[in-house]
Symmetry: C2
Subunit: 226 residues, 2 copies
């Protein structure tokens, strides 16, 4: 499948790398390709510069947001939440019409320090904001409730015995995303309902951040026991 991943951070790298490994035709979209490929310094979290990753993934092309939007049958938003709507607009609403847009971002607001608050919540969500910005796309919210490593290799934790959620208004788009999730190793894909249910999963971020603090590791996830 032709897949575009928007975003060059740890989440974008994890998803693009895994989908490439699974045999998909993957591009990574970024606002300024030349600047991204010229980076030589670690990011603010100490992660290696993006060009190190591209050298390790020679099949994955790094392209403009618009070229990424044109390439993907499925387009994954792996940018930071605050830049998500702009990045998807950069990919082109016309390019994304009818396509599956997978939003894995969270509406984190670090302007008041740590822990962050959410810049949208409760009676709206970032997933719904993206859908309103791209009315002809088929937005599915997923994967935003776990750390990047578990998004793409869930079997690293308890043999994958934990849960992932999908929210979206288009049943066929959710089925496509669920299939991608299962191909990455997810065993318990829970369909929460329409896209407004993304309010629920985005609002899990505060407890996720507290658990990260309490457990001292991001390698955890919730399992919905029923």
């Amino acid at each position: 499948m032709r897949i575009a991943v928007l975003g060059t951070g740890v989440v974008g790298q994890a998803i693009a790398g895994r989908l490439d490994e699974l045999g998909h035709d993957v591009v990574v979209g970024t606002r300024d390709v030349a600047t991204t490929l010229a980076r030589t310094e670690p990011d603010g979290m100490g992660n290696p510069p993006f060009p190190d990753w591209t050298r390790a993934h020679p099949r994955v092309r790094v392209v403009s947001l618009a070229d990424a939007g044109a390439h993907g049958e499925v387009v994954v938003n792996a940018t930071a939440g605050g830049g998500a709507v702009d990045a998807l607009r950069g990919a082109g609403a016309e390019n994304l019409a009818g396509k599956v847009v997978v939003d894995v971002s969270n509406p984190l607001d670090f302007s008041r320090g740590f822990p962050p608050t959410l810049f949208v919540k409760d009676d709206d969500s970032l997933g719904e904001q993206i859908q309103r910005a791209l009315p002809d796309a088929r937005v599915v919210k997923t994967l935003n409730t776990m750390t990047a490593g578990l998004m793409v290799h869930p079997e690293q934790l308890a043999d994958g015995d934990h849960s992932v959620f999908v929210s979206g208004d288009d049943a066929a788009a959710k089925a496509t995303v669920a299939e991608l999730l299962r191909s990455m190793g997810h065993t318990d894909v829970i369909d929460l309902g329409d896209l407004s249910s993304a309010r629920g999963t985005e609002m899990m971020l505060p407890v996720w951040l507290r658990l990260f603090g309490a457990l001292g590791t991001p390698m955890f996830n919730v399992k919905v026991v029923r």
Copy 2:
């Protein structure tokens, strides 16, 4: 232990009944004892009137909020979130000084229909509002992330293999509450940190409500897999 449970709804009944069963000296506090004991009709959810419950639990006395506040070494707020601060004020800030106040309520706002929104969230929580109203009490937030039946008999689901959270500023109060939780059957009590971490667990309610809809039953809970 002398325990007061504020609230006569399904959550209050479940907790008071279970603590009575475990041998504690339990009272239930309510705003208007005579009116509560005169009820003959089911509540809005079709639950039997409260006097049916009292007949089945003859050791548990039904008393005023102030008498409940005076009785309890531990006081459990099992009222609806919107009435929580008023009920605890009714129990008497002076009665509750130094005591463990266990808040199991959620800040649900049904004024705009279903699903409810939260009347406090993200940069504050109901747990913290209660603590500010009772500055000398030792507030612990817990149990608000699951249905009443699982709060008190967690072994009903997966032999109890799921998680419960505690948040609070007083370590000894959290230890008292964790011990009560374990005595009810909880096997995985996770200390999330100070009371501001109640923001995280209160913000789980939206996804809980969506899961309730998706699964068609309230008999589920999250397990933090790590």
